[in-house]
C-alpha cells in the first residue's frame, strides 16, 4: 500500500509494522550442522543424566545435578530448536509467562503440602 509510507511519519510507536522487517529473525539461521551439534550435546547430557541416576551420589546432590541438566536440555531445545534465541522477544514473553507462572504456582502448592519436608 502506498499510504503505508505517509502513515509511518505520523504514527509513533507501533503504528503499521512491516512483517518483512520485524517478523523475520535478524540473526542468521543456525545451519543444519549446528542443529546436529546441539542434538549431540543433548544426547551427551541425556547420557550424563542416566549415569547420574545410577551413580549413588547423595540424594540432594543427585537431584540438583538432574534438575540442572534437565534445565539445560530444556533451554537448548527452546532457544535453538524452537528458535527463541533468534526470534522476536515477544514470543519468549508469552511462553515465559506460562512457564514461570506454572513453576511459581505449583511450587507454592507443593510447599503447602510440605512435600519437601518429607
Amino acid at each position: 500500500m502506498s499510504e503505508h509510507d505517509t502513515f509511518r511519519e505520523e504514527i509513533g510507536e507501533e503504528g503499521l509494522a512491516d512483517p518483512r522487517e520485524t517478523g523475520r529473525p535478524h540473526r542468521p539461521h543456525p545451519s543444519a550442522k549446528e542443529y546436529i551439534r546441539i542434538g549431540m550435546i543433548l544426547a551427551v547430557l541425556t547420557s550424563l543424566e542416566v549415569w547420574t541416576s545410577y551413580s549413588g551420589l547423595p540424594h540432594g546432590l543427585m537431584i540438583t545435578f538432574l534438575w540442572v541438566m534437565s534445565a539445560i536440555k530444556f533451554s537448548l531445545v527452546a532457544l535453538w530448536f524452537m528458535h527463541l534465541r533468534f526470534d522476536d522477544p515477544r514470543y519468549s514473553r508469552f511462553f515465559m509467562l506460562g512457564l514461570v507462572g506454572a513453576c511459581v504456582l505449583y511450587l507454592l502448592v507443593l510447599l503447602s503440602f510440605r512435600v519437601f519436608a518429607r
Binding site: P19, G39, E49, S70, F81, M82, F95, G98, A102
Partner: protein, 207 residues
C-alpha cells in the same frame, strides 16, 4: 487475513499486516504453549505430590527399566533434530527432503509411542493399573497425556507430508512446518522434564 494458498504465484505466507509485525499463528502458538506449561505442570505436580505415597505395590523400582526408557528418550530427542532438519529443508523450498525429514520425525515419534505402549503393557502385566495405587494413577495419567500429545503431533506431521505431496502447501512451506515444529519440540521438552522427574529422580523407598 491471509491463509496458506497453493497458488504458485502467491508469495511467502507472512503477508498479513499485523500491529507487531509478527504472524498471528505464531503468536497464537506460543501463547498456547505457554498455557500448556500450566497443564503439564499440574499433572507433574500431582505426580510429585504422590511420589512415595502409594500404600501398596508395585512401586516404581519394581517396574521401571531405565535403560529401556533412556532409549525412548534418545528417540524423542532425535526426532527434534529431524524436525529441525525438516524445517531447514522447507526454508530451502526443498519439498522432497522436507517430506523425508518429516516422515523421519513421525517415524521416530511412532517408535516412541510404540515404546510407551509396550512399556505400559509390561507394567500392566506386572500388576500396575490405573487403579492399583497412586503410582499407577499418576504415572499412567501423566505419561498418557504426554503420549496423546505426541500422537496428535504425529498426525500433524503426517498431514504436512500429505499436503505437501498433493501440492496444498505453498512453494515456501516453512511457516506451517515451523508451527508444527514448535508444537513437536514442546512435546519433547515436556518429556525431558517427565523423564527426569518420573524415572531418574530416585523414588523414596515404600513406607
Amino acid at each position: 487475513m491471509a491463509e496458506t494458498a497453493a497458488h504458485a504465484a502467491r508469495p511467502a505466507h507472512v503477508e498479513e499486516h499485523t500491529s507487531t509485525g509478527l504472524p498471528n499463528t505464531k503468536l497464537a502458538m506460543w501463547l498456547f504453549l505457554g498455557s500448556e506449561c500450566l497443564l503439564f505442570g499440574a499433572l507433574i505436580t500431582t505426580y510429585v505430590l504422590y511420589r512415595g505415597a502409594s500404600q501398596t505395590g508395585p512401586y516404581p523400582s519394581d517396574v521401571f527399566d531405565i535403560p529401556y526408557t533412556s532409549v525412548s528418550s534418545f528417540v524423542l530427542l532425535a526426532s527434534s533434530v529431524t524436525m529441525v532438519l525438516a524445517l531447514t529443508a522447507a526454508e530451502k523450498h526443498d519439498h522432497v527432503r522436507m517430506r523425508l525429514w518429516l516422515l523421519a520425525t513421525a517415524f521416530l515419534g511412532m517408535t516412541f509411542v510404540g515404546g510407551q505402549v509396550y512399556e505400559f503393557t509390561h507394567f500392566y502385566r506386572e500388576g500396575l493399573s490405573l487403579s492399583t495405587n497412586l503410582f499407577g494413577t499418576t504415572f499412567f495419567v501423566l505419561t498418557g497425556f504426554h503420549g496423546v500429545h505426541v500422537t496428535v503431533g504425529i498426525l500433524m506431521l503426517l498431514s504436512l507430508v500429505g499436503m505437501s505431496s498433493t501440492n496444498r502447501l505453498p512453494d515456501d512451506p516453512a511457516f506451517p512446518v515451523e508451527m508444527v515444529g514448535l508444537y513437536w519440540h514442546f512435546v519433547d521438552v515436556v518429556w525431558i522434564v517427565i523423564f527426569t522427574v518420573v524415572y531418574l529422580i530416585p523414588n523414596a523407598p515404600p513406607k
